[in-house]
């Protein structure tokens, strides 16, 4: 019953508020009249009686306001009316409104885009049972080692191994590229994934003697087989080996999910030859924490490493075993377990951008608050509470922020595409969902409060009488008080914006300069005139002898093409991938901590000629350096200098140690150093390099190669001919696209390029905001001082000195911001240093250039209002008086 009454009152208050108001009005009036009558009856004269009645009742509007505040749903009602009022205000100031909304939308949009990305790749749980129990080991395991791990570890209740690999699938006689996934028999049951059709892979399927089976992922089933239930029992071929389809199951992965799943037992046959290790996942036993599991697993892992077959570990490798630790990382969350440095940087950048946007809108609001002083003073004078006014201003601001949030969502969608390209080669579509919407709403709300509170507090702190008196001329512009700019909130906000945007610009400047350094680096080979293309014979089942003959034939055909100067191949593409091996050299004793590591590659003859790498000593490989011929190598200048000093290394011998250890290898040539990666410290890549004939490669380094062709013609002209040459030999041979080597090198800069591009984009956006803030503040200050300037001119001030006065004021502001920005920049750019190539994080050139650029922009932003000040007509200005 009372609930019903309340609900009725609420509805009445919200929707029949006018009637409630009329009612209230009448009630107060009748009350007053009755009081008056009482007083008259008591013998007062009518006028006196009315006065006494009013005094007894108290202020009419205050009483009414008190009643309104008692009403149910009062706050809702006032929020609604505040919003309505706000919309009217914004309509009256379309300029302010659109600038504020756009500014905030940029900040909110950028943050939403980043959040949705982080959410997708880092935060969100997979839709499996107890995803929080699922962990991945940070080290990959050989299959045999994985078996040992299962037998020995006690940290996991369940465990499985998985590995991704590209495959060629033959379906209905046609072959196509698919994403394959090898899983150990327990995979589906540990993940808790059930079959949608047929059955999933079981441990029985993962036995050497079991029939070969595979499971399709739901997506592949949908896209390739149109959800047909008839796929069960059908046969598809992988590497020309037939597999029976036993079921369809969903795949949960943030990475692009697999198309076809096969038991791990097929890994040795199907996987690429250099891929012998697998990823290991497990469910942590209840009650164990990650630290305990890490310790136990590290112990087991090191034990296993020490037992490695034949124990052909070099002393140096044995020394590093105690440093090889297992660290679990959550696998139940998004596919990117690491919150990459780039993502962190971009997140910090957009956070700062939002801060700048807030400061910008806040400074606009401060100026507007001053312009609205009269309105606020009137409202205070007729009985509005200060809190009520603050609430109204805040409601307006939050409303503004929500409008910006809506626009920001759209912006986020667009930015998201850009950003996801930054963190992975295969961009995942960014789809705003409820979580992202929630985030945007929360950010909008916080933003609204954040940028709105200070100005609102300030605007409502009004000294009533002067504010009301002044107002006649609007905008508090009348008094002759020397508006000798006191260092107010508005100016602090502008200085903060300038400081923050300078910090961003410095970051962007450093990244751009680093990129510039990178693109000018002499890589040591000709990247312009070489076309490259992958060929992958192993994917269609070639064995080594067949592969070699294919390669030789292909090189012959290519060399014979018109326009081709030379053709060669190598196992590794320059600037994509690396292969590091340890060596031992007779007569050279390594230092205690020295690891004798060189980067290695396998090549065909003419590799160095094709890339224009000078052969300094000895000879190139020839077809005579076959699999059965004596083992030979060509080494780089750096390797020669390091291990052979001044001696001529040609004719000397060395050995590869560690994995794929060899007997004596004879050095037959020395070539100039080249760069194979811009950042070499991370993977022990060094200009010390050894090249071996592709026919003498260890088995793991066969199966695929990149064809390199030196030609004067363009890629577009030659691409068709090169592909045709390959497919004329075997129409099923999987080949990649034809690119120039320059494209490959450039692509390796892709990350650096998008990072610096994004930072520069946001930095410039921040600068634009700061310039708007500075301009707004100066224009406002000039407007306020029109009269003062008029008087100065009337008293003989020169226009030039007025210009200087205004400029000085603005530039002081900019200089303060600059100081703040430089300090922050120096402190924060250190976090960038991992991304900088050959450049100090406090590079003075960048700091100076960016600061000068900022000061130039600030000068322009001040010059426009300063010119306006200079053109003030003293007569016009003083006529107001």
């Amino acid at each position: 019953m009372p609930l019903f009454v309340k609900a009725r009152s609420l509805l009445r208050n919200l929707f029949l508020s006018r009637r409630a108001e009329v009612d209230l009005d009448e009630e107060v009036r009748s009350h007053l009249e009755m009081l008056t009558e009482e007083n008259i009856r008591a013998g007062m004269p009518p006028r006196e009686a009315q006065r006494a009645a009013r005094i007894e009742l108290g202020g009419i509007e205050q009483v009414k306001e008190q009643v309104r505040e008692e009403r149910i749903g009062n706050w809702l009602h006032s929020v609604m009316s505040d919003c309505r009022f706000g919309v009217r205000q914004f309509r009256k100031n379309p300029g302010f409104t659109s600038v504020a909304i756009l500014t905030l939308a940029l900040g909110i949009g950028a943050n939403t885009a980043i959040f949705s990305l982080i959410d997708q790749v880092v935060l969100r749980w997979l839709p499996i049972k107890h995803p929080e129990q699922l962990f991945e080991l940070n080290q990959d395991f050989l299959l045999s080692d994985f078996e040992k791990l299962i037998a020995r570890t006690h940290s996991f209740s369940r465990i499985f191994a998985a590995d991704d690999g590209p495959m060629i699938a033959g379906i209905d006689g046609a072959s196509q590229n698919v994403r394959g996934k090898f899983v150990s028999g327990s995979y589906h049951s540990v993940m808790g994934i059930d079959a949608l059709l047929g059955r999933v892979i079981t441990p029985q399927d993962d036995q050497p003697a079991s029939p070969l089976v595979c499971v399709l992922s739901y997506n592949f089933w949908k896209n390739r087989f149109a959800l047909s239930p008839e796929v069960l029992g059908r046969t598809i071929t992988l590497k020309r080996i037939p597999f029976t389809i036993i079921g369809v199951a969903p795949e949960f992965s943030r990475e692009p999910s697999a198309d076809i799943l096969v038991p791990m037992v097929t890994h040795p046959q199907l996987a690429m030859k250099d891929n012998a290790s697998v990823r290991v996942f497990g469910r942590l036993k209840p009650g164990l924490n990650e630290m305990q599991a890490n310790a136990e697993l590290t112990l087991v892992y090191q034990q296993i490493l020490n037992e490695s077959p034949g124990n052909h570990l070099t002393p140096a490798q044995q020394r590093v075993i105690p440093e090889k630790k297992i660290r679990l990382r959550p696998a139940g969350r998004g596919g990117l377990y690491r919150f990459s440095t780039q993502l962190r940087i971009v997140a910090a950048v957009v956070g700062m951008l939002l801060l700048i946007a807030c400061a910008n809108v806040a400074s606009l609001l401060v100026a507007r608050g001053t312009a609205r002083q009269r309105e606020l003073a009137v409202r205070l004078a007729i009985g509005a509470g200060r809190w009520r006014l603050i609430r109204q201003l805040l409601t307006e601001n939050i409303f503004l922020a929500f409008m910006a949030g809506c626009l920001g969502m759209l912006l986020a969608f667009w930015l998201g595409q850009l950003l996801s390209a930054l963190i992975s080669e295969r961009p995942t579509p960014v789809s705003p969902d409820m979580r992202v919407l929630g985030f945007t709403a929360a950010v909008s709300l916080l933003t609204g409060v954040f940028f709105g509170l200070l100005p609102a507090l300030r605007a409502t702190r009004v000294n009533l009488s002067p504010a009301l008196k002044e107002g006649a001329f609007g905008a508090g512009s009348s008094s002759l008080r020397p508006a000798r700019s006191h260092w107010g909130l508005g100016k602090s906000l502008v200085a903060a914006q300038i400081g923050l945007s300078l910090t961003l610009l410095i970051g962007a400047g450093l990244l751009l300069r680093s990129l510039q350094h990178l693109s000018k680096v002499d890589v040591g080979f000709d990247r312009e005139n070489v076309l490259v293309m992958w060929v992958l014979p192993t994917m269609v089942g070639y064995d080594s002898p067949k592969e070699y003959s294919l390669c030789w034939q292909l090189l012959d055909r290519l060399s014979a093409l018109p326009g081709v100067q030379s053709a060669s191949l190598s196992r590794l593409q320059l600037f994509s991938g690396f292969w590091s091996r340890t060596v031992s050299i007779p007569g050279y004793t390594s230092g205690a901590q020295e690891e004798m590591r060189v980067s290695c590659n396998t090549t065909a003859p003419k590799f160095f000629a094709t890339f224009g790498i000078p052969l300094l000593l000895g000879r190139d490989f020839t077809p005579a350096d076959s699999a059965t011929a004596p083992k030979v190598a060509i080494i780089s200048e750096s390797m020669a200098r390091q291990y052979f000093r001044d001696e001529n290394p040609v004719g000397n011998h060395f050995r590869f140690t560690g994995e794929d250890a060899t007997g004596d290898v004879e050095i037959v040539g020395v070539v100039k150093d080249i760069l194979t990666e811009f950042r070499d410290e991370e993977y022990n890549r060094s200009p010390r390099a050894a090249y071996i004939p592709f026919t003498q490669a260890p088995p793991t380094m066969t199966g695929q190669a990149v064809i390199e062709v030196r030609t004067a013609a363009s890629a577009r002209e030659m691409a068709g001919a090169i592909r045709e040459a390959a497919q004329a030999l075997d129409k099923n041979l999987p080949v990649g696209t034809v690119q120039t080597q320059d494209e490959v090198v450039s692509r390796s800069l892709g990350e650096a390029r998008s990072l610096s591009g994004l930072t520069a984009f946001f930095g410039l956006a921040a600068l634009l905001l700061a310039a708007i803030g500075l301009y707004g503040t100066m224009a406002y200050s000039v407007g306020q001082r029109t009269r003062e300037i008029g008087i100065r001119m009337a008293l003989g001030a020169k226009r030039q000195s007025i210009l200087n006065m205004v400029l000085r004021e603005g530039m002081i502001l900019a200089a303060v911001g600059l100081g703040v920005g430089m300090t922050m920049g120096a402190a924060l750019t250190r976090l960038l240093s991992s991304q900088l190539y050959n450049l100090s994080a406090t590079d003075p050139w960048t700091f100076t250039a960016v600061s000068m650029f900022l000061m130039a922009v600030a000068l322009v932003a001040c010059y426009i209002p300063a010119r306006r000040a200079m053109r003030v007509d003293p007569m016009e200005a003083l006529r107001y008086e």
Partner: protein
């Protein structure tokens, strides 16, 4: 009786308004005068400060209102006790008794 008006204790205003309406419907000014009368002048409620309370109580459903004619043929807003209001009066009365009882006990203790 003490003729000095006393400030109202927190929470007693509702009780007094409900009590003053037991005798029958009454307009706002009447309620204020009635309170003054039944408390022997101890509580003087200014009509202004009495204004918001009936509105809130009406929304709680304890009293209802209608427009009627005053003694001098003026249109005035009248308030009347509802069933939930009568129940609320009982509740408030009990609560008040408990408080005064407790205070009295406290004062008597030596």
């Amino acid at each position: 009786m003490n003729s000095e008006p006393t400030t109202l204790l927190q929470g007693t205003l509702d009780l007094l308004i409900l009590k003053s309406l037991v005798g029958g419907e009454m307009h706002g000014l009447g309620v204020s005068r009635r309170i003054q009368q039944i408390t022997g002048g101890t509580f003087v409620v200014k009509p202004g400060s009495l204004f918001p309370a009936p509105h809130r109580m009406e929304e709680e459903g304890w009293i209802s209102s209608f427009w009627g004619e005053s003694e001098n043929n003026r249109r005035a807003k009248y308030y009347r006790l509802t069933k939930p209001g009568t129940k609320q009066l009982e509740v408030e009365t009990k609560r008040w008794d408990r408080i005064t009882g407790a205070i009295a006990q406290a004062l008597e203790a030596s």
